[in-house]
Symmetry: C2
Subunit: 315 residues, 2 copies
């Protein structure tokens, strides 16, 4: 007998936003652990690689992108369990990008989430291969029948994730960012050029996360487009908030080095806009995000809270 009192829907209603985020993180961590046991058992690969992959992906992080997958799926009637493979695949993709971005040849970061970065805990070649392995896992997970019974939907997820994370998306954004930093020192960055590279570098995966719900539900194209717009607004807000934290946060709050951009003399959205205008822009983006959720009524409340969370986050 199923008790309505303990049903997933009622529990969700009674939880605070932070509880929901924590619950999604725990569920993602559990699914990632299960999938890694299948896909990277230490006895079927290098034990060093298996450990580095787990270091890169387990035991930390807000799991904000998986949370967006789970909540955008819930908005279209897909339960958490049916969204978790997609959430885990996206987190593998995100964590590969961190393992590679932290490398000495790129951002040269030694700490991440209060822990040593993968190359710092192991070495460079292990971090490069751990990232390569995680990137490959993302697509292996999405190809599994457990991700969705409908082959066309799994292919849509794979196509969208590849396009969001490749040269026209995340990898391209990271290249534009490094190009500006390491090669083109002319300082010709404009708000538009930074907006565009950030939309590729960090925006594309957030947009994928928000679109994955309607894709999993086989929703109509207009719903997918609306959720992509929501993801765009959220991603833009996420980046401004990140830049503000780099200016205003402490390493203890943020869990990694701060003031890196200013120390490097690097133009950011915030340095070009100014602090006050950046804060006003954030508030405007919060309003835009919430307006995009209006057609979903009360169902949209958690994602609206997510927008407020992004705008106000301190880590």
């Amino acid at each position: 007998m199923v008790s309505t009192f303990t049903s997933q829907g009622l529990i969700r209603t009674l939880m605070t936003f932070t509880q929901k985020l924590g619950r999604a993180a725990a569920a993602t961590e559990a699914r990632l652990t299960k999938l890694l046991d299948e896909l990277a058992p230490p006895e079927q690969t290098s034990s060093r690689l298996a450990a580095a992959i787990r270091h890169a992906v387990l035991g930390g992080g807000k799991r904000f992108r998986p949370f967006l997958v789970i909540e955008s799926a819930a908005l279209f009637g897909i339960c958490e369990d049916e969204a978790l493979n997609t959430a885990a695949a996206l987190e593998c993709l995100h964590c590969y990008s961190l393992a590679h971005d932290d490398l000495p040849a790129m951002d040269n970061d030694t700490m991440r989430r209060g822990q040593p970065t993968v190359w710092h805990a192991y070495d460079e070649w292990t971090a490069i291969l751990a990232g390569d392995g995680l990137l490959t896992f993302a697509f292996e997970i999405l190809a599994q029948p457990e991700t969705h019974a409908d082959a066309a939907i799994r292919l849509a997820l794979i196509g969208e994730l590849a396009s969001a994370s490749g040269a026209r998306g995340m990898v391209g954004g990271q290249a534009l960012d490094l190009e500006a930093e390491k090669i083109d020192e002319s300082g010709a960055a404009t708000l538009q050029s930074i907006r565009s590279l950030q939309s590729m570098k960090t925006g594309a995966l957030i947009r994928f996360a928000c679109a994955s719900g309607p894709i999993l539900a086989g929703a109509r194209a207009a719903d997918c487009e609306r959720m992509k717009s929501f993801g765009d607004v959220l991603g833009f807000a996420f980046q401004i908030a990140d830049d503000l934290l780099d200016v205003e946060g402490t390493p203890e709050e943020v869990g990694k080095a701060v003031a890196k951009d200013a120390d490097a003399g690097k133009a950011t959205l915030v340095s070009l806009m100014g602090l006050e205008a950046a804060r006003l822009q954030l508030a405007e983006l919060e309003r835009e995000a919430i307006a995009l959720l209006k057609p979903f009524g009360a169902q949209g409340v958690t994602l609206a809270q997510a927008a407020s969370f992004v705008v106000n986050r301190r880590n």
Copy 2:
């Protein structure tokens, strides 16, 4: 009116093996160029990244893996044009692995196919991101409807390629190899341990290439297994031949540095077996490969020639 004299089948019969290899390479190059123009147009990404990706993947190489895709597809009645997206995806995957393996943190190679390696022509971060982009493209290409009309077949290709190239396959093999070289200097390598790591590091992609034909044709499982066995034998032969070239070849023949393994005091299949036993093993593998093709009769002749080509190659 279709002339039988110019039909693809008749042309194939009249060509020598080297002509077929060259023709497959040219067709793969053309398809890769077309796909890169769609997936990595310089105006939609970093122009530096777009150039590095092209440097990594265009203008060189025997395209042996794409050739195996095309020929294993032909064996099951799939024409070249219908196999080329799969061939191109596999070549993107292979070229990403070269771009990463050549990095200073891994094999530290400066020349490849007679050209500077990607990191040597650009820099390390560009080579890491070019590799990441190419790995992502492989899956983006396989997800395209142009690769095969049937979604289930595209997913089978994606699942097989991910499994062949990830931590249980190519990436895991490279990690085992570097672990032995850079960490475990105890020299405890056995023929079995090297055989196992090479089967992951270089064998898995060759196995995928040979299995992709029956997968594209929706052939029965027994045919897929037979072609995987053929790929295993071919991959093993490929590795022994590669080790022999490292001992016996000149840099001019091979297009890259030779005697690297001996200089590094690294155990290889050949150093453990001895030269004579290695040559005998190669001849035995050639016989095994040809025996596996027997059920296909005269249709199997090109792949049989491929086995002989691998055994006798000088570059």
